[in-house]
Symmetry: C2
Subunit: 419 residues, 2 copies
Amino acid sequence: MHEDIRKKGELARQASRRLVTRDTRTRNRALKTIAETLTAQQSSIVDANSRYLDAGLQAGLSEALLVRLLLNSSRLQDVARDVLAVAALPDPVGETFDACTLPNGLQIGKRRVPIGVIGVIYESRPNVTVDISALCLKSGNAAILRGGKEAWHTNMALAATVQDACLKSDIPAGAIQLIESQDRAIVKDMLTAHQYIDMIIPRGGAGLHRLARENATIPVITGGIGICHVYVDQTADLRKAVPIIHNAKVQRPTVCNALDTLLVHRDVADELLPQVVHALAAAGVEMRCDPRALVIVEEHPAVQPAGPQDFDTEFLSLVLAVKVVDDLDEALDHIYQHGTQHSDAIVTENYTRAMRFVNEVNSAVVYVNASTRFTDGGQFGLGAEVAVSTQRLHARGPMGPKELTTYKWVVLGDGQIRE
Amino acid sequence: MHEDIRKKGELARQASRRLVTRDTRTRNRALKTIAETLTAQQSSIVDANSRYLDAGLQAGLSEALLVRLLLNSSRLQDVARDVLAVAALPDPVGETFDACTLPNGLQIGKRRVPIGVIGVIYESRPNVTVDISALCLKSGNAAILRGGKEAWHTNMALAATVQDACLKSDIPAGAIQLIESQDRAIVKDMLTAHQYIDMIIPRGGAGLHRLARENATIPVITGGIGICHVYVDQTADLRKAVPIIHNAKVQRPTVCNALDTLLVHRDVADELLPQVVHALAAAGVEMRCDPRALVIVEEHPAVQPAGPQDFDTEFLSLVLAVKVVDDLDEALDHIYQHGTQHSDAIVTENYTRAMRFVNEVNSAVVYVNASTRFTDGGQFGLGAEVAVSTQRLHARGPMGPKELTTYKWVVLGDGQIRE
C-alpha cells in the first residue's frame, strides 16, 4: 500500500473517531468558516486555477474541458453559497428511529451516526472538492479525496482552504484530506484500504466504475450513469408529453438524468412523433428511430434510422433514440432490458397503467407525468448530493447528507440478561 | 462463469421481476404452504438427513458437528414454526417514507421494495436453507443458495420442499434455487455474478468473509464475527454486573454475541473480580487475565495469564479475557483497537459515562446495563434474522425482513418540467 494512503488513512480514522463527538453547531460553524475562507482566499485559489488552465492550454486540452475546469471569483462565490446551503440543512446525525421498549424493559432504537471515512475518487470539476468536503463534514464523516489530474493545483488550493477553515473550527486535523500523489496506482490502493475507508464513491465514467467494482474490497456506491426512458402511453395528454420530452432531452443534455430513449405507444405515434421531431429538431436534437417510428417521421432531416447500439447508449448529448411499442408490456420489457435503473418516466392519464409502471419499473426513480431531469439532490429537497446511486444497497437515487450516515442500535437496560 | 450460475441467475432475475407483483397475502400464503409441506414431507427429509449423517460418520466428522447437522422430526417442527413466525411479521415491502409535496406540486417519496436477488453462501446447519428462503420470500426477493457440503442431501431435500410449496402458491419458478454442484470454484463465480445477484451474504467463518470481500464484485454484507466487550465502570452496581458478565459469557458461548473480553475499572477490580471468577469458574470458564487482574485473582485454578492474542480473539468457547483499566478512556481505546464493531456493553450507574459509551463506541449494538447476548433478530423483535451485519453500509446488527429491502423514489406529477 502506498505510504500516502497509509498515513492519510490512519489520520482519517483518528479524525473520524473524534468527529463523532463534535455537535451540530460545531460542524455547521466549520461549514460557515469554509465559505468565509473561500471568499477570503479567493485570489490565491483563482490564481492556482488560472495557472493550471495555462498548463492545460499548453497540453492541448479542449476548450470545453477548460471551461468546465475554470474557477473564477464568480464561480467561487457559487461554491461558497452551496456550502452555506449545506450548513442550513437539518443535521441527519443523532436521529433516533424504530425505537421501542421490549417486553423485558430494554429500550432499543436505531440512532443515525456517521459512516466513518468516505473515499471519493472524482474527475474534472474542482468544485467537487468543496462540495464533498461540506457534505462529509455536515454528516460527521472524515473524507479522503482523490481528484483528477487536470484540476490538481486548484484541488490543492481548495483543500488547503477547507483544512484551514477546519483548523479554526475545532474540526480534528485529518478530517478532510486530499491525495497529493499523481501516481495512478494509488487509486487501486485506495480501493483496497478497507482498514481506513468505509465507503468508496467513484464519481466519473463507466471505466472508473468498473475499476472500482472489480478491485474494491470496500463497499462502493456506483451511480451517475443513466440510460433514461420516457414512455408515452396511448392515453397520454400530448400537451404534457411534448414539453416533458423536450425538457428531459434538451434542458441539460450532458448529465445522467437526461432522456436517452423515447418509447411511444403505437396508437399515439402518428400524432405525437411529428410534434416531438418538430420541437426537438428546433433545439438541435438528432433522432434515431426504429423502423416503425421511421415510417412516420423519416422525411425530417433530423431523423435517421437507429443503429444497433442506440438503445443501449447514454448519449450525454443532443441525440435521442425513438421506438414505437405495442403496449405497456413491451415498454416495460424494453426498459428492463436496456435501462440502467436510474430514472424512467411514463406519460399517461390512465390510473392503472401509471400504477403498473411505478410498481414494475425497477429504477432508482420512477416518474408519472414529469421530466426525468428532476433526479437531483437539490430538486428533491436534500439540499445537495454527493452522488446519484444506481445500485440497490444502502441508498438509491440522489444521496444527500442523510445517505452519508448509517445507524447503530442503542440498547438501554437496568440489568437485563437473556433467558 | 459456471453454467449452473448463469442458468440459475437468469431464472432468478426473471423470478425477481415477477415477485415484485406478488402481494403480501400471496407471499405469506407461500410461507404457510412451506410450513405445511415441511410437515407433510417430514419423513423423506429426515431420511435424507440420516443418510448424510451416516456418510458423515463414515467420513469421520466429529460428533459435535453431526449433532449440529441433525434434523429429526422435532427439529423440523421448530423450523416449520419459525417459517410461520416469519409469515406473521408485518410486510416491509410497500412502506412509503420521507414523502412530501415539493413546491412545484410534485409528490415525491421513497417506497420500500425488494432488493432483487440475494445470494447466500453458508456452512453447516441445514435449517438455514429454510430460514433464508422464508425471509427472502417474505421480503419479495429471489434467492440463490449455496450450502455446505456436509449438509448436501438435507439441503437438497429442503430446497425441493420449499420449491414444491412455491409452485403451489403462485410464487414464480426460480424464486428460490439451490446450487447443486459441489465444485468449490462456483463460490467465486457467485461472488462476481453481479448481472444476476444484487447482494451476497456469506454466513460462515473469517475465511469465507475474506474470500467474499476480496473477490466479490457484488455488494457483500459481512458480519457474524464479534469480539464483544463488557466494561464495568467504577460506579457499576455489581449485583447487575456479575449476572450480565455471566450471561454474556456462559448462556451460549459458541455464538458471535457472546462475551470475549471483560474490562474492569481499577477502583472496582478488587471487589468485582473475585465474584466474577467464582461465578464463571463454576460454569467452567477459563479466565485469561492481564497483569493487573492477575494480581487480584491469580490464586484461582481457573485463572491464567493472558497471552498476546487473547484480546484479539473471538473465543466461541468458555474462555474470557480480563483486563483492568484506569478509566473510561482506556476502555474506549481498548474497544476501538481490539473490537469488531459487533456488540459492546457498559455497566454503570453514572449517567454521563453511560452516554459517552453509547456515543463513542462505534459498534453495531451498544448496551448500557444489559447482556450482549440480546444482539439477535428474534430478541430485537424483528421476528428472525438473515445475518448480523458488522459493516457500516445498508444495515448494521441483526438483519430482519426489512433489511432485505431497499427503496425506490416514486415521483407523481401532472406535467412538471425542470426550469
